[in-house]
Symmetry: C2
Subunit: 328 residues, 2 copies
């Protein structure tokens, strides 16, 4: 049993936990905007998480986790595993709290994410996504230092923290005179955000979207058990959603709450990035655009008051220009 | 004397007017985010006006102007002159209030701006920027219909409305525990936004930035009288700032308040657009990026708590890709 799984065994993520995380996060982070977007005369409410200080929602879970560490734990430091957004979230929270952070990142992570993580003062340890296990590397580091593992999605604090986006969505809709959300469409990598949103909004339909080839959670929900991705080398621009397989703590929540899951192609992602560029004037990274991509492609039908995640904006310039130029 | 000048003769824009506009705008538009950006270890507070529903600050002045029209005036309709952002502001407000709107736009305005203005239900009348006077075309339309002219910058309501961005900046800084702003750096076309911000924030230094070749207000302030641009054919990507010359109502305010004015090159604008893309994950149009461009180029030194305008994000995809790719 890994350190993370031990932690999960001691703490169950809950709606009350999401609310406690919200109180902490409201003290340090302004609400990100919830922006209306008309799609075929239906308003889709877009949660603009690329406007977080690190450019992604991951700052929420990292802050909830690290700020809950006691003094002794803080002194031993933290270890994160991440393709880049969680890395920056952990590094940001660690810097603010004066905690030493080591992040295990894939060597082919976007340059922008690698540089931003280092700039926040974290030690970065690189691994090869196709041949090495990031969890094993993290385990070795933790065995040496006694640091706390802050897993990118399978950590109960991280799940509760990500869920705070759902509390904000609910409050912001109320500010617009609306109830709901009736449906939340979430991007899905390891399932940290989707399971957090499910806890945050117990009355909402939860739909998940994964990139083509990385649809392990959709397949897992169909099979009724956790399955890994079929091909770790399947090419995708959605680096933020490249997780080999989900964790039981996420799977259990998603199994009881997800009403539908679909995967989207690179072309569909590029179209969503273009629409966000033209209509909302925001930069969304490929992995952050999959929820909108599913709506635009007609793969998910919005239901009354529907909110979607635009989960991050950390995309290298050459990739953004390429996808924007090729988008339909 | 034009219709606009007649109106200006009857109403003087004031700080109290900006506050009255703010109360009206707060009812229908959420505050746009004020985002911190570190430049050489100094925090610059960026007002993200591309997140307005029309993608630019112009919605503020248009709403203040149109919502102040009486029933008889509303029945006769409105006429606007604009390269695109004011056009969308007037069209948006007119649609919301059930007023007929005609907009005089240059034939070489960005496609995105032309299409968005039409999509909001306005009648668009095109003119040639180099050879025709938009003010004359508007005057003919008004003589026929008795419509009210809503000038893009030389209208006292428009000035007060644009100034509401300054009220929001002040309130948002207070929310971050800061006083100020001590300095506001504003993009400057006709001077509507800059003069509104000056009225809104009587204690702030006001700095203005124009694009190279379209620096008529800087030259006018130096000369102590209103001068036109030297060459109406000078190429620029900053279509939002291409105004032939300012109006007395703007000039009088700017003359008493502007502490410095600088112009920026296309390369400097492209660099600012790249920084906004990478660090803030926002799409800023060339004309909306000039204030940051001046800071990044070292042409204006920030002063204690400094806020800048990122005034709009309505840029065609090919132009954005080109400038982003070529940026240093």
């Amino acid at each position: 049993m890994s350190g993370q799984e031990l932690a999960a065994a001691h703490k169950i993520p809950t709606h009350e936990g999401v609310r406690r995380a919200m109180a902490k996060i409201a003290d340090i982070l302004p609400k990100t905007p919830l922006l209306p977007l008309e799609v075929d005369s239906v308003t889709i409410w877009c949660k603009a998480e690329m406007l977080q200080p690190i450019g992604a929602f991951k700052i929420r879970g990292a802050w909830h986790r690290l700020s809950d560490l006691n003094e002794e734990e803080r002194a031993r430091g933290v270890v994160g595993v991440s393709s880049g957004n969680h890395a920056q979230g952990v590094a940001w929270a660690a810097k603010k709290l004066g905690i030493a952070a080591t992040i295990v990142m894939p060597s082919n992570a976007p340059r922008m994410k690698l540089e931003a993580t280092k700039a926040l003062g974290a030690d970065v340890v690189l691994y090869d996504r196709a041949t090495q296990s990031r969890d094993e590397i993290a385990a070795v580091l933790i065995a040496k230092s006694g640091a706390t593992l802050v897993h990118a999605f399978g950590d109960p604090w991280v799940i509760e923290g990500q869920g705070t986006a759902g509390i904000e969505i609910t409050e912001q809709l109320k500010g617009f005179g609306l109830s709901g959300p009736d449906m939340i469409i979430s991007c899905c990598g390891g399932g940290g955000l989707a399971s957090g949103l499910a806890l945050a909004c117990p009355d909402a339909d939860i739909a998940i979207v994964e990139p083509e080839g990385w649809d392990d959670i959709i397949r897992s929900l169909d099979a009724g058990k956790i399955l890994p991705v079929k091909d770790l080398n399947h090419p995708t621009y959605c680096d933020a959603l490249q997780t080999p397989q989900t964790y039981p703590v996420n799977f259990d929540i998603l199994q009881s709450r997800v009403s539908q899951g679909v995967s989207v192609t690179t072309d569909e992602v590029a179209t969503a990035m273009r629409v966000v560029f033209e209509k909302l004037h925001l930069v969304v990274e490929p992995g952050g655009a999959v929820a909108l991509a599913a709506v635009l492609a007609g793969k998910i039908q919005p239901k009354n008051v529907t909110a979607i995640t635009l989960s991050g904006g950390n995309v290298d310039r050459d990739v953004f220009v390429k996808l924007l130029a090729q988008a339909a």
